[in-house]
Amino acid sequence: MSRFLSSIQSEWLKTKNSAASWLCVIGGFLIPLLYCINFFRTGKSINKEFNTPIWQIYLRELWMNMSFFLLPIGVMLAASLIAQVEFRNNSWKQLNVTPQKYSTIYGAKLFVLLLMVLKFFLF
């Protein structure tokens, strides 16, 4: 277990300085930003209607768009980023001679991917 944790730690370190954080920030802001632009362009909004749970409607609508379109793409980008870090630097071989099971290596990568998705949601 502690091996798995340290493996995750090292995988997380690898995403430092890479495009990963930007991916999460931009990905998280994209849909609300599009809505905002739409609002400024058309001036239409549901805010004028009284007695409606505005934020709930917004949340539902945004979430629909995000889960449908943005999340899968975000996950795909993040996954390819993680794999690409190893390929670009020729470091699969160095990783595979570290004393870890293959399942630990790939498990840690998957976990980091999930962490990135979590980060994505937080924004």
Binding site: S6, S7, Q9, S10, L13, K14, K16, N17, S18, V85, R88, N89, N90, S91, W92, K93, Q94, N96, V97, T98, P99, Q100, K101
Partner: protein
């Protein structure tokens, strides 16, 4: 006791030509083993097979006295390696690069500064590894290999891309590690002159077959046995006649006569003898 025992290794990519043919390799403990061969002879393939980076097709590999496939994690814990091009994360600094591996190997943080000092990268600070020169990347990769105090080091062409000064430095580092800490070192190279200066044992590989394996002095003795003196002359028959009459074995070719080399004095004597006849 052997640090690495590989027997009857054979390998082919796809259905193509075999890259390795029954290579049997024995690296004694405490040795600096030089693995020599021209480009494409199968050096890297052999080392990758030993480390389990490519699937073994035939043969057996024992590292540090244990079968590799059954004790993979135990063995890798004690082996430091650098295969082919340096593998460093270009978007991380030297320290962060080492931290990635420090986490995995579970060695104290202080080792990072120690190995950076050993390879002479102590002052790079926050510079990203992507901005390093090839020589510096190579040094960083050597630092990664040394990070966890391995008892066996496998380095594939470690001095590639280093300046002459760096080559001497790395050579000194390897010699020191070997003598002071008893670390077994396996280095591959295509330059005899480079291996010649550190190695105690030599393995020669050519076109996927191991041609020679033994100590440095054995190789030198063998080389001396194969040395020959070639006399170029227009009177080959006459020279042959003289040698036959003296009971010297020789090999007659068109325009030259070949005699095994023994000592300088003997060669001088023979030459005098031949010249004296005319």
């Amino acid at each position: 006791m052997f640090s690495i025992e590989a027997s009857n290794l054979a390998y082919r990519f796809g259905n193509g030509q075999p890259v390795l043919n029954n290579v049997t390799l024995q690296v004694p403990q405490g040795a600096v083993y030089g693995f020599l061969g021209p480009n494409g002879a199968g050096k890297t393939t052999t080392l990758k097979l030993i480390l389990g980076l490519i699937r073994k097709q035939q043969g057996m590999v024992k590292v540090l006295g244990k079968d590799f496939s059954q004790n993979r994690i135990d063995i890798l814990n004690k082996v430091g390696s650098l295969i082919e091009s340096p593998s460093v994360y270009a978007h991380l600094s030297a320290t962060d690069n080492l931290k990635v591996f420090q986490n995995v190997y579970k060695v104290p943080q202080s080792r990072i500064a120690a190995v950076l000092d050993i390879v002479g990268l102590g002052s790079t600070g926050n510079k990203k590894a992507g901005q390093f020169s090839l020589g510096m990347k190579q040094r960083l990769a050597i630092a990664i290999a040394l990070l966890h105090n391995p008892s066996l080091l496998i380095l594939d062409e470690p001095t590639n891309g280093l300046d002459p000064n760096g080559i001497v430095e790395i050579r000194e580092i390897l010699r020191r590690l070997n003598q002071d800490q008893g670390i077994t070192v396996l280095i591959s190279s295509h330059l005899l002159s480079e291996i010649d200066k550190v190695a105690t044992h030599i393995g020669l590989i050519h076109r996927g077959a191991l041609l020679f394996e033994g100590t440095m002095s054995e190789l030198k003795a063998k080389r001396a046995n194969n040395a020959a003196v070639i006399y170029k002359t227009s009177h080959t028959d006459k020279v042959a006649e003289i040698f036959t009459s003296r009971g010297i074995s020789f090999e007659k070719n068109d325009g030259s006569v070949k005699v095994a080399f023994r000592q300088k004095e003997v060669t001088a004597q023979l030459t005098r003898m031949l010249v004296g006849r005319y």
